[in-house]
Symmetry: C2
Subunit: 145 residues, 2 copies
DNA sequence: TATCATGATTTGAAGTTCAAATAATTTTAA
DNA sequence: TTAAAATTATTTGAACTTCAAATCATGATA
């Protein structure tokens, strides 16, 4: 007999482990030549309140060296511009270009579709239940590790 | 104003994108020298009904060449044994060793904790709602891509 | 000012992945 | 039956991702 826990786990592994490769295919299909790793860098730059190298690296949980390598490529490809902080010249701010925002738009649409499918057949009360459970897991990891 | 959809999306990105690095830390902490990629190969070998190279590669959605490289290392490290099918000698079956099962035990415990935290405060009826929504998303991707 | 701390980059090595070429074996069809 | 096609897996070469350690530049502190 299969418990709900096992079903959920199987779904998490099967679905979420592979969302990246699916979205990668979507981008490729639309002619955008960018890796998912690079998309996530752009997303982190957008979502972090102050997009310094350090903050973005922390958001992504990679080392600064790793991020520098990524950003070098993204600058070369025209997705990101570097700007030094004039009052503290150690800091570098990352700025997204227009084509970066275009890529993030596709990324957002993909995630919207995903979330919509997640929400299908669910009314608001139940959405809140789901959200509560996701907050639980989020909180759990923040406390635990 | 932040919509429930945005909150869910943020949680998905923040939590699920980083589960791997968290679990990797757990394994490292316990002195197990294995990458998460390698753990996932072991998991796929265990979960697939007939663990040939082809079936495991399909489960993981990587090419056969990629899997061969992984398996070469895992054989060298003592986690996997190769066995040829005697009636169809093109096929190779993968077999987990005892130390592979030990690693998967830690992996399972980690996932159990994760799922438990997900289920905290939720009664069975609500679990079913969550499960239904995960099935929705799973189905969505299977149909769409 | 000399030392320490902070923020970022560079370098070298290891790990991951793919596409294309190759190899071994089985199946199909002439 | 045997030649061609299909299946299953491996090897090879290149690109990408990541990290740790070394380095560099700048700022804070004593």
């Amino acid at each position: 007999m299969v418990s709900p826990k096992e079903v959920i786990n199987e779904l998490l592994v099967d679905v979420f482990n592979h969302i990246l490769s699916i979205e990668s295919g979507v981008l490729k299909q639309r002619g955008v030549k960018i890796s998912m790793t690079e998309v996530h860098v752009l997303e982190a730059v957008r979502n972090v309140t102050t997009p310094t190298m350090g903050n973005v690296a922390a958001k992504l949980r990679v080392t600064l060296g790793t991020l520098t390598t990524s950003v070098n490529v993204l600058v070369k490809k025209g997705y990101i511009q570097r700007e030094r902080d004039e009052s503290d010249r150690r800091k570098v701010y990352l700025k997204l270009t227009d084509i970066a925002h275009n890529v993030l738009k596709i990324h957002d649409e993909f995630h919207d579709e995903m979330i919509d499918s997640l929400f299908k057949d669910l009314d608001l009360e139940k959405d809140e239940v789901l959200m509560k459970s996701l907050e639980n897991i989020s909180q759990y990891f923040k406390n635990q590790y």
